[in-house]
């Protein structure tokens, strides 16, 4: 709860003091607020400080702040802080952008700790509405306008589908509370020969589809490459990391409620996971534009995380946490390097990476580590995340794990395009890369989480 307060009031303060001004000190202020809220989440998880008074304001059947939720909130806040820090010189005027991103983060918090479908719905909307504005924040740019309109139409459409699903669930189970929703269907499932009402099955499918639109799983992904390409870079990386991870947490908690009737929804979800992994990786191979490639790569990662949804049993949420951390940090690293190269070259194809190893070797090595982490090569955090995910999924669903391995192998092909262009091609311009410190810090996180994952996991879980 303290994270809500700090993020929200920090955003309000930022909105008033920083309106239409553009100084990087505001970004540092915003990132400081977010790191503070991440720290306080972790601190209240360990019991170093107690915010029980704030939490008692919220009815326990609306939101819940268990240690797991606090860690997820801390992760989202931490990632957003890094996004704001590494895109300090973003080409969009105005610190209201930062404030909108922080309001959107409040929605992500709501999606993490909801206990009632109303809170989940409000969370999705609080997350999305600032993002529609952020996607269109380059007002004169036709691509940005197009991205905003597409994102808006798809977002509103998926909200409608999600709401129809929740109405069906309400009618079928008689409740909108997460703890009560699952009781009736699993009770019915336990009785031999008693069919689950159509309303409940349809409701689960429709709510799932509404959330799958947000995580951009195939076949609900068609908006993602266009929106990711057209939006400003900082918004794109926010969509690819924070929005995706929070939607996965929401989906995990929602479907975990209906774990009693898992056989009713695991079938179509595993088909979706398979085609998401394969299609995301295959389509990424033929892209020339860096942002579209990263968009398809994020679609492929959504497929891997769908495997997690299928094996989740309420005790292994740490896999999602670790995978989210690894994927988020590596995405921020690669997006921020390509953003800075774009600022120099005004070229958003792979040609922008040409000759990076000659002109700034440190950045090239940081790029390699980020890309290897996304691809899942050993000693990077991405490898450890995938290793945990696949080894836990192996017992229940070996076919899906094989698909995941094939997808990862396909993924190497396009991730190596970055390395090929950076090391083997000769570039004309030497790009100006600022903020080496943050890049090195992100690399250190990736390597530390990749080499000593148990330190991180023992400390937190």
């Amino acid at each position: 709860m303290i994270a809500f307060f700090i993020t929200f009031f920090g955003a309000v303060v930022l909105l008033f003091i920083g309106l239409n001004k553009r100084e990087s000190s505001f970004s540092i202020f915003a990132a400081g607020i977010l790191f503070l809220s991440a720290f306080l989440c972790v601190a209240s998880k360990f019991g170093w400080c107690n915010f029980g008074i704030l939490e008692s304001w919220v009815p326990a059947n609306m939101m819940q702040f268990s240690p797991e939720q606090l860690l997820f909130m801390g992760l989202l806040s931490f990632l957003t802080g890094f996004i704001i820090l590494s895109f300090r010189d973003s080409d969009i005027i105005g610190n209201d952008q930062l404030a909108l991103m922080m309001f959107s983060l409040c929605g992500a918090y709501m999606m993490v700790c909801y206990q009632h479908i109303v809170v989940l719905f409000l969370g999705i909307e609080v997350l999305s509405i600032p993002l529609y504005v952020l996607a269109g924040s380059k007002k004169d740019n036709i691509y940005s306008n197009e991205a905003a309109l597409k994102y808006f139409l798809m977002g509103a459409f998926s909200t409608g589908i999600f709401l129809l699903g929740s109405a069906f669930i309400y009618g079928g189970t008689g409740s909108l509370e997460l703890e009560l929703m699952g009781i009736k269907p699993s009770f019915m499932h336990a009785i031999e020969g008693m069919p689950i009402p159509v309303l409940i099955n349809a409701g689960i499918i429709l709510m799932g589809v509404g959330l799958l639109f947000k995580v951009a799983a195939v076949p609900f992904h068609f908006w993602a490459p266009d929106v990711y390409q057209g939006s400003p870079n900082r918004t794109t990386v926010f969509m690819a990391t924070v929005v995706k991870i929070s939607a996965f947490i929401a989906l995990y908690r929602l479907l975990n409620t209906f774990v009693g009737i898992k056989s009713n929804w695991s079938g179509w979800l595993s088909i979706l996971a398979t085609i998401t992994i394969l299609w995301g990786n295959l389509a990424a191979m033929i892209q020339q534009n860096v942002k579209r490639t990263l968009a398809y790569s994020s679609i492929a990662h959504a497929g891997y995380l769908l495997i997690f949804i299928l094996i989740a049993d309420g005790t292994n949420a740490w896999i999602l946490w670790f995978y989210g951390l690894a994927y988020g940090i590596a995405s921020i690293l690669v997006f921020s390097i390509s953003h800075q190269l774009y600022n120099t070259n005004k070229d958003d194809t792979f040609e922008a990476f040409n000759g990076l190893a000659k002109s700034s070797p440190i950045v090239a090595i940081a790029l390699v580590i980020g890309v290897l982490s996304l691809a899942g090569i050993p000693i990077s955090a991405g490898f450890v995340g995938k290793f945990y995910l696949f080894s836990f999924a192996w017992q229940s669903d070996p076919m899906l794990v094989c698909t995941g391995l094939v997808g990862s192998a396909l993924g190497v092909a396009y991730y190596f395009k970055f390395i090929k262009h950076a090391f083997l091609k000769v570039g004309e311009k030497s790009p100006v890369i600022k903020d080496r410190g943050i890049l090195i810090f992100l690399v250190l996180i990736i390597l530390m989480a990749g080499v000593f994952p148990w330190i991180l996991l023992r400390t937190f879980f």
């Binding site: 139409l153 409608g160 579209r292």
Partner: protein, 108 residues
Amino acid sequence: MSSLTIFNQLEISHYIYLSTVLFSIGLFGVLFRRNAIILLMCIELMLNAVNLLFVAFSSYMGDSDGQIFVFFIMVVAAAEAAVGLAILVLVYRNTRKTDVSVLDNLKG
């Protein structure tokens, strides 16, 4: 008198069918119409079909959660429409069209 007895014969399933049909009209409108303003209206139709269903379930089960949800949906739909129309104005300024077929600049 006879017109009032019709309402007594309505069951919850009628409301489910009605709102599913209304929702489908909105859904197909979003999928097949090309004018962005009509798309917005179709999305509103989808949301209002859901509102009807929530109210019907709520009164059928004697539980007030569904009616409270409807208020939230209406508030959020208004906020969403405000942002959506603002984006539409932005697109109109740059392209002089409100047709979604202008949205084909981004390709891969």
